[in-house]
Symmetry: C2
Subunit: 644 residues, 2 copies
């Protein structure tokens, strides 16, 4: 492996090769707008919230119990509870939280590490199952993965510290235990792969990369048990380089794919990279929700078959959104293709941003696209089941999502822009300052509310360089324009718009994106939303929520008119042309299947239906909600019904 | 409780009160046609198949292991494995299998019963959890329920024997342990309730009925733990008499409702009966598939919210179909209303009959209405996961369904007809002989292939009596006719058609039912099937199956024309007017959501699409299948798309 020659960039992913070079948190600052608000809430509320809950439910205490020999009696939470403590530390490190907080958590964790590097509170101590006796469900390597990512974050954000050392010792233990000649298996939950590659990148240690490559190659050969969900659940059914689509448990599939890209990039394995790109393409074309959400089965948190995308049973786990952004980001760095930034944008705005409540102290675990029944307020003082609540819950029995959102928002500035030998590429749009290699840019925008993105050059070298701007795929069918510093305008197609020259300080380039609301129609093969339309406005998916309907009405009464267009309403809302079925109508037959024409739906008064951004729903109390709105009644057959 | 004064009828349900009186297996014989074939396969193949598998997987051996003190090492299967042995015995008893087979199984079971009546191989022995330490998941009382039903079957079909005595001792133990002053709880899986009432009916012992009533009243008060699925999973969220709809695990909900009807009928509790009728109505109107299938969630095998009825993720467990027939049958006996026989018919033909393969040696556990991907042949020699196979499997890790189908088919003749002080009521149509109380009827029909049902009076008393014939609800919108012995014809509406007079031997009454195929349209609130039509022919739901399409085509290419009508094809098929999308069309976009008009679907050549009865699908190798067929492309908006 090539030594990282750039020093230690403050980024979660620092490939030694690839088309684009990430910019660190020290090079990109978000200064205002949508993501600045999200990140402020994350930094001031969510991080403390997560730490307080993990003290309360005993997951931090598990480390103390391990040290004091009390795990059999006192350990709390599921097998993977350790990992959430690590993810919190990672988030704190990226967020630049006071070192003493990270140090305090590190001091709790450190004594639980055994002399041989093993670290975990769920296995191997008196009264527990032996280490590595349940690779299918035990999550021991998964926990190391998050420990290592936290250690890398510490090293890059603040300089190598105690946690980084713990992570290295754990990684050494993994290599010693699972390397060639060791346990010839993999973890039921991928995550260690991407973490080991990143540790290799951060430390220059080849053996971590080798071990990651070994894990990627081992998987798919039926090493793990054939469980009720099948080996596809943990991607042990087909080798990564042979698979054609993501399948099984969505988070596992996406973490594994991210790790495979990391290995492919570092080892120059173009075949492996191409395999993951192919899987990403098939998954995005056939197994992804309009929101970018992935995973349509509640039962095993898995992808469904192609086009199985029920809105009312969308699982669309928040962590799968985080993992999808991780994968797309790696593919963007490797290939430079804007389609990966397109999906990341969609997923960030409509899955990752949808999970936390406005106050950052409650979260969606599953992100349904249709809620039919007003639910109840989750308990404030006990954890909640992970998928059934209609409102965000403060904590879950399995609570992977809150800390995953926290660490993603903490590193978000690193996803905005990249550099290459040619210049700077802007991928995501936010009020921001970008300073790297003699170039300084000031980005001003109220995107996604407004579509205008102004890029002002504050500093530039004298030589020509290229400014690249992503023109989002969602502009397809409408018109996007690029306005140069001299006022010349040109239409730009979805993809990448570039300007190459010796920019001068004071130059202002404007990208004008058509964010007016538009109908979106589903592929006819997605049976679950046939005959419906959704509204998208820029990258934001909208939804109808019952709190915006007349008293007592629910969203399932909404019908929209595809013959007219949705328009902007006040306060970021959209008004869709449509109507509400009168209450109680259609009347309730004893049996809901009839010959055509027997259940004609009478017309109701028409008007506008207020829609709000999907990511903001459920912040105003229990409600019903739907993204896909029925567009037309079924045409009637005047067929001859005489029979007998 | 009133002493049963009729002797011991050979029926599974023998209420002492109610509008209708069941006829026993000694009074009704099925002599030909659809159900005769099913029952023949059941008797000659399925019963042996189930016994052989339960020997092979060790579930019968569990009783031997218990007696010999080997359960810790040798017990096989889940907590409820005992119950399948009992269900097999019940099926054998109703099927009139040679006594020596039942005796052999009984001899295996008997020594495992403890002196205090406790019987179960999963709890209470060395190395096992204590008795009744896990009422949520332990299924101990559930197993007693099936033991008792087997004991009742033995008593009624062949005379009280050893198994009946074992069942009585177990029931006495339950009353002693869970009666007033005992354990104040219920079983996580209802079933004991209906069994205890039946044992009370068979033995005249009031205390069994009292215990059943106690169990029904105890449930719904949050006695069991609040699990991840919520207490609704086992109906411990709301008392039976307050609930408005069935919810939670479908089989549990339906077994409980059946037990509640039994208690209500025997105690004259009209409020409780009305509560269950109300729940049945709401469930049938909003939570039932076209097939009669119930339960739309794989995750917890539960009902979904109202109108959450995804065809591709239909769970529609076979056992829920069996349980639904059990409930409807009890409500029919109690009220005399034909709507309960309507649902039973639909469920028998399209769920219960769909589960077993043509050879009776493989079964669907879940009965999906849409299979998108050709699956693989389940292993012949190991058990299968319960829901993922596209073909029926010989056995499952949880194998409740095969024995449930077996016992249902064994008692099927008892569901055909009833008697009352007025006369005879025919509820289900099959070639049959009915002989009861001085009346003998010969029913001739090839229903459901043909719609003509001939009822010939072979013997009749001189006094007038009433012959009642159910006119199925599915005839709505078409014309059914009744032809009297003298040739007079009259149109009869869905419900009940009656003829009252002193019939004479040789009289032949004909019911002419309009079985020509018809389109069926779903309620517009069932989002998952908007814009589609299904075909029903008589009580049979039809489906498209890929084996009937041109080579290599899959059912998702089918589109039907609601402007023309489906017609009969050869060999029991139906030909639906429609077309197949050309292979590869619509072309595969990179992202399946677009502004309207961008993904127009070109017309393909038109023709007929062959459909087969749903209950017969998947008998010809791996295939794709769908019941609901897309009827029309989404209308396009020519809306102004200029934006920015």
């Amino acid at each position: 492996m090539k030594e990282n020659t750039e020093g230690s960039p403050v980024v979660p992913v620092a490939p030694s090769r690839g088309r684009l070079r990430p910019l660190g948190l020290d090079e990109v600052r978000i200064t205002g707008g949508f993501w600045a608000r999200s990140r402020e809430v994350n930094a001031t509320a969510t991080l403390d919230h997560c730490r307080d809950w993990m003290e309360r439910v005993g997951w931090i205490g598990n480390f103390r119990a391990a040290v004091e020999g009390r795990v059999q009696r006192d350990r709390r939470g599921r097998e993977f509870a350790d990992s959430d403590v690590y993810k919190l530390i990672e988030a704190m490190a990226w967020a630049g939280r006071h070192d003493s907080e990270v140090a305090a958590l590190t001091e709790t964790i450190a004594p639980a590490q055994e002399p041989d590097g093993y670290l975990g509170t769920a296995f191997g101590r008196p009264g527990q199952q032996p280490r590595y006796s349940d690779l299918e469900w035990g999550h021991e390597l998964y926990c190391y993965g998050h420990l290592i990512q936290a250690g890398v974050a510490q090293a890059r954000a603040g300089g190598e510290g105690e946690l980084t050392k713990i992570a290295r010792r754990a990684a050494d233990h993994v290599c010693a235990t699972f390397g060639r000649g060791g346990i010839e298996s993999v973890c039921g939950h991928p995550e260690i792969e991407t973490a080991l590659v990143e540790l290799a990148r951060a430390t220059g240690e080849q053996r971590y990369l080798d071990q990651a490559a070994l894990f990627v190659d081992r998987r798919g050969h039926g090493t793990l048990a054939d469980i009720e969900f099948g080996r596809a659940y943990y991607q042990d059914d087909i080798p990564v380089r042979e698979a054609t689509v993501l399948r099984g448990h969505a988070v596992r599939a996406l973490y594994l794919a991210a790790g495979a890209v990391d290995v492919a990039v570092e080892t120059g394995d173009d075949e492996l990279l191409a395999a993951v790109v192919r899987q990403w393409e098939a998954t995005v074309a056939r197994r992804t929700y309009l929101t970018g959400g992935m995973g349509s089965h509640h039962r095993d948190e898995s992808f469904g078959d192609d086009f199985v995308l029920p809105p009312d049973r969308a699982y669309s786990e928040t962590c799968a959104g985080v993992a999808s952004v991780m994968l797309s980001w790696r593919l963007l760095l490797a290939t430079g293709e804007p389609r990966f930034a397109d999906l990341a944008e969609r997923t960030l705005f409509n899955v990752v941003a949808a999970s936390p409540s406005e106050d950052g102290r409650a979260f969606f675990y599953a992100n349904t696209l249709h809620r039919r029944r007003r639910g109840t307020v989750p308990p404030a003082d006990t954890d909640s089941p992970r998928a059934e609540s209609s409102l965000r819950a403060p904590w879950f029995a399995v609570s992977c999502c809150p800390t995953n959102v926290a660490r993603t928002l903490a590193v978000l500035p690193a996803y905005l822009a990249t550099a290459s030998d040619d210049g700077i590429q802007l991928h995501q749009y936010a009020d921001a300052e970008i300073t790297t290699g003699g170039i300084a840019l000031r980005v001003r925008t109220d995107y996604p509310r407004g579509g205008t993105v102004s890029v002002r050059v504050a500093r530039s070298p004298d030589r020509p360089w290229t400014l690249s701007l992503r023109v989002p795929a969602w502009t397809e069918g409408a018109t996007a324009r690029l306005v140069d510093a001299d006022g010349t305008r040109r239409t730009v197609a979805p993809g990448t718009a570039t300007l190459t020259r010796a920019f001068r300080p004071g130059d202002e380039i404007r990208l004008e994106l058509p964010v007016a609301p538009r109908w979106i129609e589903p592929d006819p093969r997605i049976d679950a939303v046939r005959g419906t339309l959704a509204v998208q406005r820029g990258p934001l998916v909208y939804c109808a929520e019952s709190v915006d309907l007349p008293d007592g009405q629910e969203v399932d009464a909404v019908r929209v008119d595809p013959g007219a267009v949705p328009v902007d309403g006040p306060d970021g809302t959209v008004v869709a042309p449509g109507e509400l079925a009168a209450p109680g109508e259609p009347h309730d037959p004893a049996w809901p299947y009839r010959p055509p024409g027997q259940s004609a739906v009478p017309a109701a008064e028409r008007g506008g239906v207020v829609l709000v951004p999907y990511n903001s729903w459920a912040n105003r109390g229990p409600s019903t909600m739907r993204v896909w709105l029925p567009a037309t009644p079924l045409p009637r057959a005047d067929a001859d019904e005489s029979t007998a």
